[in-house]
Symmetry: C2
Subunit: 206 residues, 2 copies
């Protein structure tokens, strides 16, 4: 359901071909709702069959054609209805957290590798989110610019601020995850002091 909504929200900014949608997805919505490319074309066709988007053949180069999709009034209404509806918060389902609760079953090396991967992943994510948030507030994101062109001036601030707010949530969570992984690494050092001293002595002099 959420991929459908993510695509409707994307097409609310401007009409797009499947290829455009895929590319734009990667640099915007995908931060908020990760979906593999292979899901995007079939979902666009389903949206068209349901009358939520209009497909139109347009030329691609000299001889080929491509399909460009634009939001219909029904699509607009469905997007609005989905955003209006209060979403049930979800219970926790995080394999990393579950695994950490049973780290006594892992070797200290394996637990350390897991936590280092966790920290790295969320540090990278954090940097992307912070960059994207800055670009949103500076109105430097092309898709946001297209969206603002279709938005009355009195409502533009809200459009920008809600996007930045969504990224605030991503940033806060990524930061919490990095700190958690670092706490775990300190815990491993504490539970296995011999090992971490051994490692330290193998390092070149700083």
């Amino acid at each position: 359901m959420s991929l459908r909504m993510a695509l409707l929200a994307l097409l609310a900014a401007r009409p797009m071909t499947g290829f455009d949608a895929m590319r734009q997805f990667d640099v915007s919505v995908d931060y908020l709702w990760h979906a593999p490319h292979t899901q995007i074309y079939p979902e666009l066709r389903k949206l068209e069959a349901a009358g939520l988007v209009d497909g139109e053949e347009v030329p691609r180069g000299e001889h080929a054609r491509k399909r460009r999709y634009s939001l219909t009034e029904a699509g607009r209404e469905q997007l609005r209805a989905w955003v209006e509806e209060v979403e049930e918060p979800r219970r926790e389902r995080d394999p990393q957290r579950l695994k950490a609760a049973y780290f006594e079953w892992a070797s200290p090396q394996a637990a350390r590798a897991q936590l280092e991967a966790h920290a790295r992943f969320h540090e990278d994510a954090l940097a992307s989110y912070e960059k994207q948030r800055e670009d949103i507030l500076a109105r430097r994101v092309p898709l946001l610019q297209a969206r603002l062109e279709r938005t009355p001036p009195s409502e533009q601030e809200a459009v920008v601020e809600f996007k930045a707010f969504a990224y605030d949530g991503l940033i806060a969570r990524a930061r919490a995850e990095v700190e958690w992984a670092q706490e775990g690494l300190r815990l491993l050092d504490r539970l296995h002091p011999e090992r971490s001293e051994g490692e330290a002595s193998e390092q070149p002099d700083a």
Copy 2:
């Protein structure tokens, strides 16, 4: 896959009937990996078929029988292998965050209701996590006590600390979610000042 692992980890503490497993799931693993009850019995039967747990008929009352499951050596190995294996961190898929990015499509009332539900849910979760973490560190959780009875004294601290560490992660995230929702409510007040003043004047004098 993770439900299977959650059940193996549960049975590593002590043998249990399906009913015990369901009850114990609710007061421990379920915080880390939410699963509906209906999934637990079928998964136990699959674990038995795969030789990862042993099922044994034991009396229930005067005439009836029930099945009690205990971890086999193969189950123990599979649990260990799963905890050892580095888990790929997951990309974001949070309908709340996705929806917040498009709150300009919602009425301020609907956006407010969504954020209030979000704050309430994570405040409640936070309180449960904090209580559970305290009980873990004080070794007051019966299932943890059963687990510790099967654990050599030199490894007991790790068992307790890893469980508490998993809850630290839940606590940090729940706290970030509550703060995020509150930030969103302040943003709505800022974008719709007339409305929040109107509401304030309807409140009884403080």
